[in-house]
């Protein structure tokens, strides 16, 4: 499940970064840059939460 999500995100990055970057990141008062930063922070928090979940699962399995 998680691997599939990562693959999806990895394939999403080039489509965003190449052709559309000029309009996407420079238009509309650069609000999209802020959105990109918020996204990075939130995805980072989500990944951290995921790793916590896995660590707890590991400890549960050891018991």
């Amino acid at each position: 499940m998680f691997q599939r999500l990562i693959i999806f995100l990895v394939f999403l990055i080039p489509t965003l970064s190449k052709a559309q970057e000029k309009e996407l990141m420079y238009g509309d008062g650069k609000i999209n840059v802020v959105i990109a930063v918020i996204t990075v922070i939130f995805v980072g928090l989500g990944l951290y939460l995921y790793s916590l979940d896995r660590k707890i699962s590991k400890i549960e399995d050891e018991e």
């Binding site: 499940m1 998680f2 999500l5 609000i31 802020v34 959105i35 918020i38 996204t39 939130f42 995805v43 989500g46 939460l49 995921y50 916590l52 979940d53 896995r54 707890i56 699962s57 400890i59 549960e60 018991e63």
Partner: protein
């Protein structure tokens, strides 16, 4: 990862609300202007808090009827997560209030009701920590939890609606509909609420599993 589906769904829904909430067209209102977007972030904290407290209340009742200690552990984990949401909602609300109402704190019935609710739930944690015996602790705190939940409904759900309040939908103020909580806002707000509830459930479940291991 157990029950991965709801956890990933929660993350995706909140991510959607963070991204699309900044991009979507919003109704232009005086004073509030673009800050109406805070509806997606500030108000969803309160919805998530009430959901967490309701789950905590439900598990307290289940503990009292079944006597299973793990239900008490679920209950306290959910109440903790509800407290986190309530502080996030309070602080985001203070920022928003400062730039729309002109002050960090007013004697608005909803603000004072929230403050009282937070104190009531803080007393819940103090009460828990003051009893050593596990069963007694669980029983006393479950009974108190029922009281706390009902007080929360009274203080943030009922009393603010009976007097004048600066919050929309309360007292003399109109509800969301009249400043058109139109479909553009709804399309972001409801997914955000569901997403935060799912993430809250996830974090509370982590806290619950740590409690289980500690036993």
């Amino acid at each position: 990862m157990k029950n991965a589906a709801y956890k990933i769904l929660g993350l995706l829904l909140v991510l959607y609300s963070l991204v699309y909430g900044m991009l979507t067209e919003v109704p232009v209102l005086p004073i509030i202007e673009e800050s109406i977007r805070n509806l997606f972030y500030h108000v969803s904290m309160w919805f998530a808090m009430v959901a967490m407290m309701a789950a905590s209340f439900w598990n307290a009742i289940r503990f009292l009827s079944k006597g299973n200690l793990s239900m008490d552990q679920r209950s306290v984990s959910q109440a903790e997560m509800g407290m986190v949401f309530s502080f996030l909602g309070l602080f985001t609300g203070m920022v928003w209030a400062n730039f729309t109402w002109g002050t960090w704190w007013t004697n608005d019935p909803k603000l004072n009701g929230t403050a009282i609710t937070i104190l009531i739930y803080l007393a819940y944690f103090v009460l828990r920590n003051s009893v050593d015996d596990e069963r007694k602790k669980a029983r006393i705190s479950a009974v108190y939890n029922i009281f706390a939940f009902i007080m929360m409904i009274v203080f943030i759900g009922i009393l603010p609606r009976m007097t004048d309040s600066l919050h929309p939908g309360n007292g003399g103020n109109p509800g969301f509909n009249s400043y058109d909580l139109d479909n553009r806002l709804r399309m972001v707000f409801y997914p955000a609420v569901i997403g935060w509830i799912l993430i809250g459930t996830w974090i509370a479940s982590l806290r619950f599993r740590i409690r289980k291991i500690q036993d």
